[in-house]
Amino acid sequence: MITLRALMQPHRIVMMVIFAAFLVWCGVSLRWDWLPHYMPLAIAGLWTTLWILVVTTVLGFLLAVPLGLAQAVGPWYLAVPARMFCTVIRGTPLLLQLWLLYYGLGSLFPQFPWIRSSELWPYLRQAWPYAVLALTFSYAGYEGEVMRGAFSSVAKGQLEAARSFGMPRLTMFRRIWLPQAVRNVLPTLGGESILQLKATPLIATITVMDIYAVSSRVRSDTFIVYEPLLLLALVYMVIAGIIGFAFNYVERQVPARR
């Protein structure tokens, strides 16, 4: 952790003063009069970004666990499809996946009357389900690979101890294997979650009104370019910081000596 004393170094003080001056300059000499008018939209956009981030990382992780497990210890008929999924997802641009789902799948669906008349249609005709699906797959693809390594990295003796006490397989997975695997890759997962955050602006390209889309909207409405972008950068930095802190906190719950 950074202590106050550690901040009180000459070179750090200089950096902080420069940054503070930059903020003051931004506040005083840039235009912010558009802000109140766009505030409600910005808050809605922020909410969209946040819930899509949380939902896709959670769903993606839930998918990554079986993907990793299948690759680490699964039989070939599970391991091969899991590996193929991860390879395809990791090997193609997210933007491409998003567009294939939205413009491809999304324009295929309306051709089937039974889909149009189904309960799901009110959702399938919107953009966000495709955004959620693409981002979930993306996270699952990358994290599936991470979890494969994580499951393999848990020491054999840890699982052997569990087995030697007659622990049923599911209990062992839930109580020993999964927690240790996740613990081993927490720093990676933290980093990947921040990457996931920074992948979310792509969904603006399929008409989902996230915080990035709001800043574009401000630009095209008012021709003010830098101010919305600067504010946008700040918003992403704050969210990334919160994610970093959250993972750091969880990591500290189990002190490791390495």
Binding site: G157, Q158, A161, R163, F165, G166, M167, Q180, P255, A256
Partner: protein, 265 residues
């Protein structure tokens, strides 16, 4: 039929009930036959020391007893209950194995305490999540056991921050927490620095004195001689010689055992 681990210890003069019986156990890893028909019986209260050079199959034999290794063939009877095996030796009934394992606590060479849990959590893990003991009860019992192995102060410590001797003592407490009918020690002091061996042996010695049934794979000959009431010498997957410690150590009959004893002492 097969020679039993006989010699009577004072604690168990009345109870000669059979705890573990292994008959004609074979185990191959690929084309290498590690166990070539081993038979052994331990009665309640027996302390059986299993000695032998590296590669003699002693650890494999111990690990076959609770099916951490799958025997290739043979018969294993724990507390009168035979473990069902298929023709190829694999366990026929996973639930049966799991149930039997809860009665056979194992202590490992590498301790294998769960690294993501504190000592107290390590010890209550199996009672609470496998045996469904109420948590409060398990915690009380765990504290008693930690005190017993001299680790009461460390209940909130994580294993990585403890010495090998401390970890192994905690691992013994974890094994005791399931109230096992027999304990399997797989070279419990082999991974320890020499100065830490003593503290672990003291704990095991106490357990032997209170009449616990134990199978002990060890390189500590002096210790084996002191606590065991039956010693088994394995050589290349066969029992070369066995008997009471006094006989095996003082008066070995087999040439190989003589050589082995002179090489380790």
């Amino acid at each position: 039929m097969h020679p039993s681990a006989a010699a009577t210890s004072a604690a168990t003069e009345d109870a000669r009930e059979e705890a573990i019986r292994v008959t004609d156990l074979h185990k191959s890893f690929g084309s290498v036959e590690v166990l070539k028909g081993v038979s052994l019986t331990a009665n309640k209260g027996d302390v059986v020391a299993i000695i032998g050079g590296s590669g003699s199959g002693k650890s494999t034999m111990l690990r076959c007893i609770n099916f951490l290794e799958t025997p290739s063939s043979g018969q294993i009877v724990i507390g009168g209950e035979e473990i069902a095996m298929r023709a190829d030796g694999t366990a026929a009934n996973r639930r049966q194995i799991e149930r039997i394992r809860t009665r056979l606590a194992m202590v490992f060479q590498q301790f294998n305490l769960w690294t993501h849990r504190t000592l107290l959590e390590n010890i209550i893990e199996v009672p609470v999540h496998v045996l469904k003991t109420p948590r409060a009860e398990a915690v009380t019992r765990a504290r008693e056991l930690l005190a017993r192995v001299g680790m009461a102060e460390k209940e909130d410590a994580f294993p990585a921050f403890l010495s090998g001797g401390q970890q192994q003592r905690a691992a013994i407490a974890r094994a005791l927490a399931v109230d096992p009918s027999a304990m399997l020690f797989d070279e419990p002091t082999s991974a320890l620095d020499p100065e830490l061996v003593g503290e672990v042996l003291t704990v095991i010695r106490d357990l032997a004195a209170e009449g616990r049934t134990m199978l002990l794979v060890t390189h500590e000959m002096k210790f084996a001689r002191e606590v065991a009431n039956h010693v088994v010498y394995l050589f290349k997957g066969r029992i070369e010689e066995q008997g009471p410690p006094a006989e095996v150590f003082e008066n070995p009959k087999s040439e190989r055992l003589k050589q082995f004893l002179s090489s380790v002492s």
